[in-house]
């Protein structure tokens, strides 16, 4: 059976402590378990102090069949930051903000160019989701319509075909929007004329949502990252505006830094971040 691990974000010591706690052993330099398979929900990189080590541990486990790993928005962005289009322009602009978000990784990767190249090659072929007989895994949101869009641009195992990375980063392309939902979550437009200022003072007319809530929520219940939810309408959000979940299988997601302690967020969805 499976152990599903949340966003590791370059914390390799904690990953190894966790593997030890879960009863994994290390043979031929590869962490492994005789009866269990680790599943990573993605976001191995950025932020933490041990970027290369975190990637190397999970990559070796995955290559040898002891882990399955999907792509998080941070791996997706890392690929886009590295890959250039035919004009030599990076798919993700090298702005100060984008570099800053990626700096912990870049500091280690740029010092070892061959490793950097290999890591990006590996990120590129990570599936965007897993739909196993027992369970599903996606980084942020399971949305059947977006999964259908994705199918046109990926292989049978939900790996993006390399030639579509440019479209995947083009906000005018449906693939971009499908990946936004699957890897960054469901956003909900606020009713006409309603907006709020986020923690950086930017005016927003959309909210990130607890899309997994089963009962019909109102804007205040659903909102994530709104400093003062009382400014949002206390009215029910039509279920047609939310993705819902069919509850056909347990679903595991990461990505959200919920302040509650780790727990199932609904009867069929668990957030391991």
């Amino acid at each position: 059976m499976y152990d599903i691990v949340g966003d590791i974000h370059g914390y390799a010591d904690e990953l190894e402590l966790l593997l030890a706690k879960l009863g994994y052993q290390k043979k031929n330099s590869i962490w492994q378990h005789s009866e269990r398979t680790l599943i990573s929900v993605g976001d191995l990189i950025d932020r933490g102090p041990q970027q290369k080590r975190a990637v190397d541990i999970i990559r070796a486990m995955t290559a040898n069949g002891f882990a399955k790993t999907i792509m998080g928005n941070h791996e997706f962005n890392a690929v886009a930051y590295y890959v250039r289009d035919k004009n030599g322009e990076p798919l993700r602009a090298h702005t100060v903000k984008n570099r800053q978000q990626h700096l912990a990784f870049l500091n280690e990767a740029e010092a070892i160019p061959t490793w950097y190249h290999e890591a990006i090659s590996w990120f590129k072929q990570l599936p965007v989701l897993l739909d196993l007989p027992e369970l599903r895994v996606v980084h942020a949101c399971w949305h059947p319509t977006s999964v259908e869009v994705l199918k046109d641009y990926c292989t049978d195992n939900f790996t993006l075909k390399p030639s579509y990375f440019k479209q995947a980063n083009d906000s005018a392309h449906p693939l971009y929007h499908a990946l936004e939902v699957l890897m960054k979550g469901w956003e909900l437009s606020l009713p006409e004329g309603v907006s709020f200022n986020d923690k950086d003072g930017h005016k927003r007319d959309k909210i990130r949502t607890r899309w997994w809530l089963e009962q019909d929520g109102n804007y205040q219940d659903l909102a994530i990252g709104v400093p003062d939810v009382s400014i949002l309408p206390n009215e029910r959000v039509p279920s047609s505006q939310m993705p819902g979940y069919d509850n056909a299988k347990p679903l595991f997601i990461g990505h959200y830094w919920l302040h509650e302690s780790a727990e199932a967020v609904s009867a069929h969805i668990a957030c391991v971040d």
């Binding site: 691990v5 590791i8 030890a20 706690k21 041990q50 668990a270």
Partner: protein, 110 residues
């Protein structure tokens, strides 16, 4: 994850979700684990089977723990720091991953 202060796993066994199946390890600042915490973990794990626990020799691994702590300060990964400290004190051929992992396991549950 980092902001929340823990790395979380769910141990999935096919049944419906149970809170007891969430296993987590707190994330720590760089240079975490004091020599004292390391010593306690080495002592409890007794990776080299010195019988220190039975005999209550709580400082059996004190020097090794201090060495591991010094390696952490030098930015060694936790696993490597424990392994190198054991190798320096015992014979390289005697130190196996399971010995390091036994110490990690004690640290993870401390």
């Amino acid at each position: 994850m980092a902001e929340q202060g823990a790395l979380v796993t769910y141990r999935f066994n096919g049944a419906s979700f149970e809170n007891a199946n969430f296993v987590s390890v707190p994330t720590r600042p760089t240079g975490h684990f004091s020599a004292e915490q390391l010593n306690q973990a080495f002592y409890l794990a007794d990776p080299m089977q010195t019988c220190c626990v039975e005999n209550e020799i709580t400082d059996e691994y004190q020097r090794i723990a201090e060495h591991a702590r010094a390696l952490l300060v030098e930015r060694f990964a936790l696993y490597d720091a424990i392994e190198q400290a054991l190798i320096a004190a015992f014979d390289e051929d005697w130190v196996e991953p399971k010995h390091v992992i036994a110490v990690l396991e004690k640290l993870a549950s401390s």
